[in-house]
Symmetry: C2
């Protein structure tokens, strides 16, 4: 977990900006409807690291930083991320997230669906404050990519024939797209050149891939305390991630996963499959793949303006690996 590393190198350079982002989130929560306001406060205080808005702020600072447009964009990125979590928790029927009760657990699925819709559009409204049509467009395209990937994933539940390529394409859309949107918003609003935007997008796409792979590893080898939710959630729902795909490549004759796919709700079979994958060399291999993505992410930053902001972006790749 990142607590092991000193994260100040990442957040320190944008500390005052992050306080402005928090102020905006408080403003968004301060609606006249008391129930809605309570839900918004609950969700914004549920312990997110604010990694994605930090990336937007850092990207903006690399160029012509304009707080009046980059702060709303950063807040919009965080709200959009939050929206996806609220709907994911309904879909996954999750009672907890980051150790806190979820919206669906506290207020029920119907309210959580509506709140997620509210959050998506609150993000779009903030994005419009940047007075640049590319910002709401970018965020819209990001949710389109995420939901497209999640719909595809849903149709692939318990499909042990899922390939690495399918997995990579899915996590590129499901996770890396939002990291890419985060840097793009900062870079566009900072008036970066086309080449600089592409470099940052390459950074963010690779970072996002590494982030998701490490997350998928943790679902096998983490503890419930670290995760803030039960271990093995992916496999329980039938989501086939890289550790499973690599394990099956290495053990084509193994039937622990096959058995689970035939009896989805059998807890003993789930435990056996989790154990098999968690103790296999697939985990180390996944970690190497994530490391490669991080290497590519770092490399993409190479010729961008040096200084605290670039160093912070570089440090994020290390945080991801220490995840």
């Amino acid at each position: 977990m990142e607590q092991r590393l000193d994260t100040s190198i990442i957040f320190q350079p944008v500390q005052p900006d992050l306080r402005e982002v928090e102020k905006l989130l408080s403003e968004v929560s301060a609606v006249p409807s008391p129930q809605l306001s309570a839900m918004l406060s609950h969700i914004f205080r549920s312990g997110g690291k604010r990694l994605r808005p930090t990336i937007t702020l850092l990207s903006g600072h690399l160029f012509h930083y304009q707080p009046d447009v980059i702060i709303p964009a950063a807040a919009a990125v965080e709200i959009l991320h939050t929206a996806t979590l609220v709907h994911d928790d309904v879909i996954d029927n999750s009672p907890r997230r980051r150790g806190q009760a979820t919206i669906n657990h506290l207020w029920g699925n119907d309210i959580a669906i509506l709140l997620g819709d509210y959050l998506i559009t609150a993000a779009e409204e903030l994005a419009a404050r940047t007075n640049n049509i590319k910002t709401p467009e970018l965020l819209a395209q990001t949710i389109m990519a995420i939901t497209r990937a999640e719909i595809e994933e849903d149709f692939n539940h318990f499909n042990l024939n899922k390939t690495r390529e399918q997995y990579y394409r899915q996590i590129n859309d499901k996770t890396a797209a939002l990291f890419a949107a985060a840097v793009t918003a900062g870079a566009i609003l900072g008036k970066a050149s086309r080449d600089e935007i592409i470099r940052l997008q390459t950074y963010a796409r690779n970072l996002g891939m590494a982030f998701q792979i490490m997350d998928d590893i943790l679902d096998f080898i983490g503890t419930e305390e670290e995760l803030g939710k039960p271990v093995g959630a992916d496999l329980r729902q039938g989501t086939i991630t890289l550790p499973v795909i690599l394990f099956l490549e290495q053990h084509p004759g193994d039937d622990s996963l096959q058995n689970l796919c035939e009896q989805h709700n059998n807890v003993a079979l789930l435990q056996a499959a989790l154990q098999q994958v968690a103790t296999s060399s697939a985990i180390t291999e996944c970690s190497h793949i994530a490391q490669d993505y991080c290497g590519r992410a770092k490399q993409a930053l190479g010729t961008l303006p040096d200084g605290d902001y670039r160093q912070a972006l570089t440090a994020i790749t290390e945080i991801v690996m220490a995840h």
Copy 2:
């Protein structure tokens, strides 16, 4: 039902534009993912009247009509409307809508949640094509208003103390907001003056109020065939609408609704309450109130440029009453 009236006066003036809107909807459906594409085609072909995009087109035609921006805005308005229906059907657990199977019925709730998110953001992406930041902002604010109203409504289920004022505020946000967004998009993109925009918004707000009141009446006096869904759906879910509020004002001692509120799932009590309200004078009173809203809607159009487009907007108020 509107079949009784000749609706050509409404749709005829924008027939070629509506064909362009349909083309855009087909483009939106033509995504590489076969499952997503099937769902999008299903939902866009589920027999909507295209009333809201028609309103956008008519509003645009009153001024400097620019198809390259007004067509995407009209399509975005229709997609946004569709998104709200997809999520409402999950929340209401509806198997059918307009006589067709719903997304949740065909593909399950998880997929319907994701598809609704996809549709909201597909609408925002189309709105960005207008190259006017006000369009995505307007649509975002509309969904914020709708979800805020629906969250409030959810907390008021089976609350027989709900007042007319609460009801009017809720339907203003839940229904009239999207009619207002539809005219506003057309008017702004048609470069209408501030005063003209306000007149059209007054028209649309009043039209939307009338539309929802007539819809709420139909839920009591319509037939399952007319509605494309079972009668009494609102009351079954505990949604207290104007007919109930007026009935209770007139019959403060009546206990048919009180009994239902104490035993939500009792079918005999539901039938009794439906019957009581449907045969009461509350229905006629509601209809008069809707008529008043329509009058105000027509009046607001008064000084706007005369011709086929304004006549079509006027005719919509008559369609609503013949609903």
